[in-house]
Amino acid sequence: MTVASDPPSHTAKRPRKLFKNWMAKLASLPMILTALVVFVGGTAWTVTYSFTSSRMLPKTNWVGFDQYERLWNTDRWIISIKNLGIYGGCSMVLTLVLGFSLAACLDRKIRFESAFRSIFLYPFALSFVVTGLAWQWILNPDFGLQSVVRGWGWESFTFNPLNDPNTVIYGLLIAGLWQGTGLIMCIMLAGLRGIDEDIWKAARVDGIGTIKTYVMVIIPMMRPVFITALVLIASGIIKLYDLVVAQTGGGPGLSSEVPAKYVIEYMFRAQNLGQGFAASTMMLCSVVIILIPWAYLEFGGKKRG
């Protein structure tokens, strides 16, 4: 440490910068290598092989953009993209709105706050597979919600989202929201607790209503919390897979397919690695297109507190 912390002043500029803190750099070398080899290397390998006609085994017979052409001419892929769009948009908005509303309610110094917090957070402790199966049963018309309500005497009650190709994605959305909202609520609650009590006092002195204070003052102050929540929700949306497999299996028909499922099924069931790689590259592209401008705006420009 002592060697590293006071380098001789007469050494040349370049090595000095490179060897500054060399122990820390040495310690992080395995992590850097892992990141480079596994993440960057794996991504590059996937993108490269998406230009080949690899079937079960990776082979290097180049076919240009054929795999991508086939991908975008496949109904199943288009349906998957649309489903992800609907699920993603609704999930993003509703999770934020519900999460924040719940957190704001809990923040009003209600009784049994920690009990409610546990109840709301509890679904997050369940895996997507358990969530999917539980909601498959709850939404089953023959012994789930519909039959219970009919049992109460409301004979014409119909609620069968999972068996209708037009509504199945909303059935998934219900399960996704039930599972994910609790975590976002907790993050929001932590953010609300971080707001100085004096802000509330000042707002009260100025005679601003509670809801207006939340919308105009508190939410802008919680910007970093919202960004954390946004990243968490977005990553959950992109990797949506296990919930679909457990709850609907992509059905009825192809009506609840998602891109991640397309990738897995074409890589392993159809034994067509090239097609699976092309689809996963497109998923990467969509993430990059959304993330890079946003990350640039957020972190690249002026520094924010």
């Binding site: 190709p165 059905g251 069931r269």
Partner: protein
């Protein structure tokens, strides 16, 4: 690193095994349901009786879960001694890459070419004149299962072919019975599609499309009629809200639905429900029109191994799996048809006897797994999943199907 270590450890384990002269062979498969596990234990017992040890590597889940695990183990340098796969083209690339043991000498010694019936099963195991797998059973998919209870309830006679079934459907609907039970999954819908096209379009058109991949026939009038029949079947099954095939079979067992088009493994469900063929349910191979069945099924492959003792044991196991005794006990437990035409299967039930008779008469077809690559098969299943659950017109579906056949490999 870890792979090297693992293979070293396995190497040590194998050396230890050879030292004691009872050779342990790990066999992977995905036969995990009650009847399937009972069937595979027949093989294990037979192998253990030879003084060797069968190490059971059952992988839970269906073939689509197990296959990636099996393939990645073979590719990753940690091969099992033997593994189940569906015969056909699933292992084609592994064979081309030289990862599978050549069984030609075993096959010649056992005279497989003479005993395996239909011979197309052996062809499916053959690449460039060499034999790489042992077919162990035959499963066919051209079956319609009819509920006697549902027809009695509607006051109708049980149909004896597809046309009678279509004619009876409105009366069933009036009686509040669902005419056709259908699990809402692509592979099940594809089975129904395959069975209906074979019955309606006839065997000649079916052969042209499925074997010769002739897209002109897929666009032709025979297939137009077939697609219209499938569209009608789609309406019969519109109210079927189940996903799994066995739940759909259960609808037939309980008389909620009139019929189901499903592979011969459905009779396992009828057997568990203690239903009697001819009294409680009927089965019609080829939908009662075309007495032909396809010959999909399971086969065992033997990944290449460096140890000569293991290789010798693998060949011994290969010969055992196709021996008459093992074939009879295994297939009776599994409810599938044996791959040998020269053994006594008189203990089999009515539906199996019908299948055996068709086999003896030579009414066999290659299965989708044999004629199409997994890629094409998946695309066809996707199309069927889309067609059966939407209001896609027969003409659109036919055009999309013909396009897939054109590009098929």
């Amino acid at each position: 690193m870890s792979t090297t270590l693992k293979s070293l450890m396995i190497g040590t384990a194998l050396t230890a095994a050879t030292a004691s002269h009872a050779i342990e062979l790990e066999v992977t498969h995905w036969w995990t349901s009650g009847g399937e596990a009972a069937a595979v234990s027949k093989f294990a017992e037979a192998w253990n009786a030879t003084g060797n040890t069968w190490i059971d590597g059952a992988i839970a889940g269906s073939g689509s879960t197990a296959r990636p695990i099996i393939i990645s183990r073979i590719l990753g340098g940690d091969p099992m001694a033997a593994t189940q796969l569906n015969h056909g083209r699933q292992a084609e690339e592994l064979i081309e890459a030289g990862l599978m043991l050549d069984l030609t000498d075993v096959a010649e010694a056992g005279g497989w070419a003479d005993v395996v019936n239909p011979s197309s099963l052996l062809d499916a195991c053959t690449l460039d004149g060499k034999i790489y797998c042992v077919p162990v059973n035959i499963h066919s998919t051209q079956w319609i299962w009819l509920s006697h209870a549902a027809y009695a309830n509607a006051g109708l006679d049980v149909p004896t072919d597809w046309h009678e079934f279509v004619a009876s459907a409105p009366a069933l609907q009036e009686a509040g019975t669902l005419p056709l039970a259908m699990g809402q999954a692509g592979w099940q819908q594809n089975i129904a599609f395959g069975a209906i096209t074979l019955a309606v379009a006839g065997q000649e058109a079916w052969n042209e499309v499925n074997i010769n991949k002739n897209a002109d026939f897929a666009r032709g009038p025979e297939y137009t009629a077939a697609f219209e029949a499938v569209t009608a079947a789609r309406d019969f099954a519109a109210e079927s809200n189940v996903q799994d095939w066995n739940l759909a079979t259960n609808m037939v067992i309980t008389g909620v639905a009139g019929a189901q088009i499903m592979g011969d493994w459905a009779q396992g469900e009828f057997a568990i429900a203690e239903q009697v063929e001819g009294e409680d349910y009927s089965c019609l191979p080829g939908l009662g029109l075309n007495p032909v069945i396809d010959t999909g099924g399971d086969a065992f492959y033997f990944p290449v191994n460096d140890d000569p003792e293991i290789t010798a044991a693998q060949k011994e196991l290969a010969a055992l799996l196709i021996s008459p005794e093992a074939q009879v006990s295994f297939n009776l437990a599994k409810g599938s048809l044996p791959v040998r035409g020269d053994i006594d299967m008189s203990a089999a039930n009515g539906c199996m006897q019908k299948g055996l008779e068709i086999l003896a008469n030579g009414g066999v077809l290659p299965s989708g797994d044999i004629s199409f690559s997994a890629d094409t098969q998946t695309q066809i299943e996707d199309l069927m999943a889309q067609f059966w659950t939407s209001d896609m017109s027969a003409a659109d579906a036919q055009a999309a199907y013909a396009e897939l056949i054109e590009k098929a490999d």
